[in-house]
């Protein structure tokens, strides 16, 4: 075996430029795949992080049918106190839950006494909300960035509204809303901060304290629109989502039943994420094609150029199986060298991208995402193994051809 490898290596070195070119081509493909996977992964992570950490949380629970009419923020699909207790009980029993935020969402009239406009309001308990959406404070462009910004009587006003209406921190505004029984009520609030909009649903809402909303909507008891949940581990979302669904969606029945959604089900970005995954897949297919074509090309040439040599070693008594292995090893070495070079170069580039940080901005100016491309060993192994397997496949046909040559015919070849 050592000698088979030695001869194969020497034969590759014989056409140094061609071998180098092929190895570089394969390495190039590997680099592309690895860097793309790493970049796409961190890009995805950044956007997903932005969506979940700004507003959505990892999972949300609503009354059944709410999500279908989420755009109109209906108030008659709130979760009743009995159901809320059930949810709270369930969440306490799931150890993966890091935090849960109970919210009321509603449409309101928003007035500066000079101008009036419509506003979507999310009412929260500040400590709960800050725990579920840790990026929320980073969006506060002016004013208070602590949970105190959402103390009773305070409001965080969306930047777009604030700019258009000339609202400053410290100003007084009025929020007026109609409750589900049709009665209108309002409350004067102090602007504690201006909040930047974020990508995704709910990214342009104003924030007030939960109990202020109860007051405006004249709620007799505590009703909520939704619970946003943050898990300790992002990777557990699907599993925990399933568990909660099983537990909460089953009982109750009819109108009172609940529905559990993951962030991916609530945000259109999950489609983009899937697209990115498909592009990564496409890159891998391209890599396979590159390796297949380049190795096949070199090996066909190698066999063609060495017909007389093949005839010689066959005449001398080299068994067909050994001739086969000589050429297979040669092709595989191209793949191995290409994969190794590609992994090294890819790792270097990924490292470099981490040193000279690449950043992406979404929407506003406050939230700057520094991409930290990372690649796990598994992806590296998959890419390398793929290259090596494909180079074996590409070498099979030429190697079989070499091993089946009749020595007298091959020796006569000029």
């Amino acid at each position: 075996m050592v000698n088979v490898v030695k001869i194969a290596v020497r034969n590759l070195l014989r056409y140094t430029r061609r071998s180098l070119l092929t190895v570089s081509l394969i390495a190039f493909g590997v680099v592309f795949v690895l860097v793309f996977v790493a970049m796409a992964g961190s890009f995805k992570e950044a956007i997903v992080g932005s969506i979940t950490d700004n507003y959505l949380g990892h999972l949300q629970i609503h009354r059944r049918g709410y999500v279908a009419s989420i755009e109109s923020l209906p108030l008659n699909l709130n979760i009743e106190p009995a159901k809320l207790a059930e949810i709270q009980q369930a969440l306490r029993e799931v150890p993966e839950v890091a935090g849960a935020s109970e919210r009321i969402k509603f449409n309101a009239m928003f007035s500066t006494f000079v101008e009036t406009t419509g506003l979507r309001v999310t009412a929260v308990y500040p400590d709960q909300e800050f725990a579920v959406c840790p990026k929320l404070p980073t969006r506060v462009a002016q004013g208070d960035r602590t949970p105190a910004a959402l103390a009773r009587g305070k409001i965080l006003v969306p930047e777009l509204l604030a700019r258009g209406m000339g609202i400053k921190v410290g100003a007084t505004v009025v929020v007026v809303a109609t409750n589900k029984d049709g009665s209108v009520n309002g409350k004067t609030l102090l602007v504690s901060g201006i909040i930047e909009s974020a990508t995704g649903p709910g990214g342009r809402d104003g924030y007030i304290h939960f109990e202020d909303a109860m007051e405006i909507l004249r709620m007799p008891g505590k009703e909520i629109t939704e619970v946003a949940i943050r898990l300790r581990d992002f990777g557990q979302i699907e599993r925990v989502g399933r568990a909660l669904r099983e537990r909460l969606e089953g009982g109750g029945g009819g109108q009172a039943a609940l529905e559990v959604h993951t962030w991916a089900q609530l945000s259109p970005f999950s489609t983009v994420a899937r697209l990115i995954d498909m592009m990564a897949l496409f890159m891998k297919v391209m890599l396979i094609a590159i390796v297949l074509i380049s190795v096949l090309n070199v090996m066909i040439m190698a066999v063609y150029e060495r017909v007389r040599e093949i005839g010689t070693i066959a005449a001398i008594g080299t068994l067909p199986s050994r001739i086969l292995s000589l050429f297979l090893v040669e092709g595989v070495l191209l793949g191995v060298a290409g994969a190794a070079a590609g992994v090294l170069a890819g790792a270097a580039i990924i490292l470099a991208l981490n040193v000279w940080k690449v950043s992406v901005r979404f929407g506003g100016s406050l939230q700057l995402f520094v991409l930290s491309p990372r690649i796990d060993l598994f992806e590296v192994l998959v890419a390398s193994l793929m290259v090596i397997v494909v180079s074996v496949v590409a070498s099979v046909q030429p190697a079989v051809r070499a091993s089946r040559m009749e020595p007298i015919d091959a020796l006569r070849h000029v």
Partner: protein, 258 residues
Amino acid sequence: MKLLGVLRTKGQRPAPPQGAGGGAKAQGATVVRATDLTKTYAADGVEVRALRGVSVDVEAGSFIAFIGPSGSGKTTLLNLLGCLDKPSSGGLEVSGTDVTRLDRRQAAAFRGAQIGFVFQSFNLIPVLTALENVEYPLVMVQDRPASERRTRVLELLEAVGMADQRDKRPEQLSGGQKQRVAIARALVTRPELVLADEPTANLDRETAYTIIALMKKMRDEVGTTFLFATHDTRIIGAAELVYTLEDGQLTGRQERRG
């Protein structure tokens, strides 16, 4: 089924009938027994009868030249005797084995164990050094251990006078030097039979003489049987037995002394 067969015999070569690599036979034993060999090529629908009934017995340790005009069938005959090709009809035993029955793989194994080849254009492996070329049949054909290889290879390089050039690649060697290495390669497995088709055709006359002398010396020392196809009068002069081929038939047999 084919794969199974390969797997089953992996690592063990189809057993060569007798005395595999065990050196030349005693003087007088028959190495080749060819009876009424014919070979017909069908080229573009035209039948070419390259051999038309050749019968010949070769004793161990012979130094035999087949001569004859171009196209008379010398190469064809040597290819059959060397198990590189199958006769169209007739019987052929080499070292007591009926080689007409061997399949591709068995024939390769048989050649590897019993036969050495010296080619007109040397056919050294370009990526291997002189030493590695000589070593090749022991490593890649016979799978001999390194310790055994070393001494044998050096011995043979010494014998052909190429020991000091052993680390050179073929492209760095002259034609005569290449052919010396090729002879060492043909002999390193101690085959019973060495076949040489026009081994001196690409050499100048002076070098050709050295090469012939070398082969004769090896025959004298090791007792290997040498069969030549040649035009070279020097080989003809050195041969102890000269067969003349004409139009695919043996038409002359001339014994010589010395």
